[in-house]
Point group: C2
C-alpha cells in the first residue's frame, strides 16, 4: 500500500451527481477525505476548526493569499475561501487520498503544479438534455438559473478531454463503480508505491 | 465506452496465482480475452483453429517470423509458438480487451512498441518465503525446480517497478478486485475514449 495519499481533482457541471457519487464511494472505501478549505466566515454552531474548515481572520487569509499559500481561492458573498497548499500536503502525508472539488480553471492550474501529482476526473451527464431534465427535477432552480447552468455545463464539457478520466453518470451504481475502480487501481500504480517495494520482497528469503 | 480494446501485458513469477486471478476476473467482467497465439504443433482433439491457437505450418510460421509479424515467439519442444501482431490488433479492433501473458523480456519489448499502448501489470507474491510455501504446497515440482523457480522469481521481481501496476497477491479476493479495478478504470481513461466524446454531449441540445 502507498505510504502517502493520492490527490484527486474532481470537476463536474452542476447537477451531474458528483456529490452523490463521492458520498457513496467514501462510504465504501476507507482512507478518503475531502480537502479542508480555509475560510474567513464565522464558524456555524457545531463546526470544529480544522474539520469542516480552517477558520482564519481576514488578515491571516490575505497574508496567505499574498504569499501564494493557496492552490486556489475565491471571494463568495464577502467571505474568502481558499485551498491551502500546506493543508492538502498534510492530509496526503497522513496517508489519506484527498479529493479536491474544483472548477475547470482551478483544475488546469493544479494539474500543472509540480508539488502534487493529481489524478483528474471529470463527471459528465449522459447528455445536456438529461442534465436539463435532472436540474428541472430538483425543482430548486429558476428557468434562468437552469439556462445559465446548462450554458456553463456545455463550456465545462469542452474541457473534459483535459482530464485523465471521464465518468459519464448515466446510472449511479455504474458511476460509483468506476470512481471506486480508479481509486483502487491507483493505489496499486507503481508511481504510488514506496521505492523498492519489489526489492523488499527479496529480503525475507 | 471505448470503441477498440485495450492491450494488457501481464507478467508474474510462476506460482503467483496469475491464472487464478485472471480466470475470476474474466468471469466477472465482459469483453476480456486472451491473445490467441500461432503454433506449428498439431491441433489436439476438439481444438478449433483460431480459438485455442492459430494452427500454421512451419513454413508459414518461419515466414511470419522473418517478416517481423510476431510481437514475440519461442520454440518449445520442437514446436514454434508466437504472438502475431495482426491477431492481437484484430482482437483489439473487435473491441475486446486483450491479455498477453508474457515474460519480463517480452514485456519490455512490447511496452515500447508504438503500434500498441499497453497497460502493464505485474503480479507478485507477498514474499519469496510465501511463494516457496505455495510452490511446495502444489506438490508438483521437485526441490530443484522449486529452487530454480525462486531464483527466477527474484530476478523477475527486480523488473516489477518497470510495470505500470503492481498487484501483490496476498489475498486472492483483493488481488481480483485490484485487477478488475484497473480494467474498469482504464475503460474510462480519456486516452481510451473516442475523440469528441465530451463534445458529442452537446449535440443533442
Amino acid at each position: 500500500m502507498p505510504v502517502t495519499g493520492q490527490l484527486y481533482i474532481l470537476s463536474a457541471p452542476s447537477g451531474c451527481g458528483k456529490t452523490t457519487i463521492l458520498r457513496q464511494v467514501m462510504n465504501n472505501i476507507p482512507g478518503l477525505a475531502f480537502s479542508v478549505s480555509h475560510t474567513t466566515r464565522q464558524p456555524r454552531s457545531g463546526e470544529k476548526n480544522g474539520v469542516a474548515y480552517h477558520f482564519v481572520t481576514k488578515e491571516a487569509f490575505t497574508e496567505m493569499r499574498d504569499t501564494n499559500s493557496f492552490i486556489e481561492w475565491a471571494e463568495v458573498h464577502g467571505n474568502y475561501y481558499g485551498t491551502s497548499r500546506q493543508a492538502v500536503a498534510d492530509q496526503l502525508q497522513n496517508g489519506q487520498d484527498v479529493f479536491l472539488d474544483i472548477d475547470v480553471q482551478g483544475a488546469a492550474i493544479i494539474s500543472n503544479d509540480p508539488d502534487f501529482d493529481p489524478v483528474s476526473i471529470f463527471v459528465a451527464p449522459p447528455s445536456l438534455t438529461e442534465l436539463e431534465r435532472r436540474l428541472r427535477g430538483r425543482g430548486t432552480d429558476s428557468d434562468e438559473t437552469i439556462a445559465l447552468r446548462l450554458q456553463n455545463a456545455a463550456k465545462e464539457m469542452d474541457a473534459a478531454s483535459q482530464y485523465q478520466y471521464l465518468i459519464i453518470n448515466d446510472k449511479l451504481a455504474d458511476a460509483v463503480l468506476v470512481m471506486q475502480s480508479i481509486i483502487i487501481a491507483q493505489r496499486s500504480h507503481s508511481s504510488r508505491l514506496p521505492d523498492g517495494t519489489a526489492i523488499s520482497l527479496e529480503t525475507d528469503t
